[in-house]
Symmetry: C2
Subunit: 415 residues, 2 copies
């Protein structure tokens, strides 16, 4: 079905399951329920995109290379998804890492993206897939970076966007969602999934967030995060980091970065990959607990935490693979330590989300890494998005008639 992609250089060929047994699917339609052939009630394995690596000709990773050099290794990007994304700088914060005094410590500042977070990399490809599948309306369940990024990318591509969020969503996020011309629906946590399930069955409606019990997400999404690995290698001009420290929710970014490095190794440009370090709130930390228990995914209680960007109660299997295969390290960070790191980062001119700054706290708890080289901390989003006050909107009932009436009355959006 390559013809629908125009004259892209992409060598993407199939969707492939990440589970112990490999199943393959065509590149589209995106398998939004994970690998259905291997799914059980307890575990759904995510899918990733496979490429014709033997045919790669253009890809380079030295200083000055950029997204235009990496098209072969990415899913096809729809021409309407033409917002410049990525190309974010590394900011030196070595002064903040006394436990690793001999190394350079660098923050990859993802707040320099179009909607000021890493999520724009993911939505570049989820929205591309939506356009190739002739979607009309993007649906995203998020009270954070993912929702506003999807809203912006969808709007620019001429798609409608519904963001299923919570009455407690911060004013900052609500204002952004409305700003981009998307439609927020305020639902209680219990009501979001019933609403998502009903909406995604409507013709032309296309979810870009997760639909399964354990996280599988959109198979094209994590591919966008591979560019982080490529950009790091380009900026370091081939020097390989000892580790990349990644604030981790469902692990799409963690896996994407891991995969990017493995691809560059496979293509012969580097001879090892960095250790991946995941960072979760101590009050939750499903990945930490899954790895400890030797399981593919676990569900944890929704303990209170200020690290809202990574406050998930279930891990994605992708993150298990990334930590295991990179001989990585799973860390958890208390809110107190995250807040202290947040203050320290700000005094280096980096005002980040608290959950992002937790990467620094985690780094200072790691005793050693296997290799020499700099450490890269992922700085995911701006502190401007940290909640001050909730938007205090009312919750909507999740049945389709109520949703329809609300969207029509509030925004004039009819379907």
């Amino acid at each position: 079905m390559t013809h629908i992609f125009g004259n892209t250089a992409s060598l993407a060929k199939t969707q492939r399951s990440l589970g112990p047994e490999v199943f393959e699917y065509p590149l589209l339609p995106a398998q939004l329920h994970g690998c259905i052939q291997s799914a059980t009630p307890d575990i759904q394995y995510p899918l990733e995109v496979d490429y014709d690596y033997a045919a790669v000709r253009q890809a380079t990773f030295r200083r000055g290379s950029n997204w235009s050099n990496w098209e072969e290794l990415l899913p096809p990007r729809h021409p309407k998804v033409n917002m410049p994304v990525g190309n974010t700088p590394l900011v030196d914060v070595s002064a903040l890492a006394p436990a690793h005094a001999a190394r350079r410590v660098l923050v990859k500042d993802e707040s320099r993206n179009p909607t000021w977070s890493h999520k724009d990399r993911l939505n570049t490809f989820t929205v591309s897939a939506a356009l190739y599948e002739n979607a009309q309306t993007i649906i995203v369940a998020s009270s954070g970076n993912h929702g506003v990024s999807a809203a912006a990318m969808a709007s620019r591509a001429g798609l409608s966007c519904i963001v299923l969020t919570m009455p407690e969503v911060s004013e900052a996020f609500r204002d952004m969602i409305l700003g981009y011309g998307a439609y927020p629906i305020y639902l209680s946590a219990d009501d979001r999934w019933p609403a998502m399930r009903q909406l995604q069955e409507l013709p032309g409606f296309y979810p870009v967030s997760n639909l399964t019990k354990t996280h599988t997400g959109h198979p094209w999404g994590p591919e966008g995060y591979k560019t982080i690995a490529y950009e790091i290698l380009a900026e370091l001009d081939g020097e390989i980091p000892a580790a990349v420290v990644v604030p981790t929710g469902y692990g799409e970014m963690l896996y994407g970065i891991y995969k990017g490095f493995t691809e560059v190794q496979r293509l012969g440009h580097i001879n090892r990959i960095p250790q991946l370090v995941s960072v979760e709130p101590a009050a939750r930390g499903p990945l930490y607990h899954a790895l400890k228990a030797g399981r593919a995914a676990v569900t944890v209680a929704a303990g209170p935490t200020v690290q809202s960007g990574t406050a998930t109660t279930v891990n994605g299997y992708r993150s298990v693979v990334a930590i295991r295969e990179s001989r990585g390290i799973a860390m958890v960070v208390t809110d107190e330590a995250a807040r202290a790191a947040h203050r320290a980062m700000a005094q280096q001119g980096l005002w980040q989300e608290i959950s992002s700054s937790a990467a620094l706290a985690a780094l200072n708890m790691v005793e050693r890494f296997e290799n020499d080289g700099p450490i890269v901390l992922m700085g995911c989003s701006t502190g401007l998005k940290e909640p001050t006050k909730p938007a205090q909107a009312h919750a909507i009932a999740p049945d389709i008639a109520s949703l329809r009436a609300y969207l029509k009355t509030e925004f004039g959006f009819e379907f």
Copy 2:
């Protein structure tokens, strides 16, 4: 006095007045009261930095060139001011400019800077000057982008920073100022200047915002904005825009962009410069009125406007020069038109300050430009900074004893 600058490639040699009669000063100390030799009670002329242009050897402006190629043409950058700044992308919004359907219209997205506005370019050099002059504490009068940028740059360089702001400052800006570890002082509009004058006399205290009746500002500041012109030429790979449309307060950015293009022309890399278009709120617009009256600077009434980023009551003389010498156009935009442009921009995925979006509204009111070529609109800052609620702090009395007591009690900052 070149020795204090280390092994910089900078060819900066003097400060030079912009007034009709040229006066020169050493490169430092920065003349913070403008050109004192030509000042009258009515007009103070700003200073700019002059260079040894005949000695320029490295500067290139083709695709892929960046700040490392332009050190000769910038003031010396202090090694402690090492935050990556600039390198912001051009985002296509041609669909939004029906009045110029044959042209590409591009937004230079300055929200991709470290504190999410263009001001980081200015403060890269004001804070450098402060360090070379052995300052200990930066003082900045601002309730907006300039204040938070100065706070971040100062903090990273190990300097203290006091931000003279207003009780009505938005929560977003207050949180940023505090986040970076700077000290906000909430003063009424009438009290800010007395407070500034008293503080700047203290040893080690260094103002990076204006001290004169008509705006002169810090002579090194606008030099940072020249990089916008250089970056535009690099990204367009030598193509010359027909115009650059610039939301204008005191005109430091307007002048910096104008100067950058003239330098590249002087060095023989381009054969003309773009027309500069200034954009001010219709309720104020001192530059518009100064040009109409043929005057160097005028003061206008503080008419109400939502375009807070450009809501000045006096123009800088720099902006008069930039418009006059580029055969440019001075535009004013109503709040209604600015809001409509703000919504239109957001639906292209660019959620900006309202005052930035006004550039689009202005463009659609211009009938023609002198030359072919794309149009660049300056997108100055993120919509995340638009005020939702005021921080509602109380105002402080502007005498030095009260200021001292407040800073000590509130922040433990003693001087």
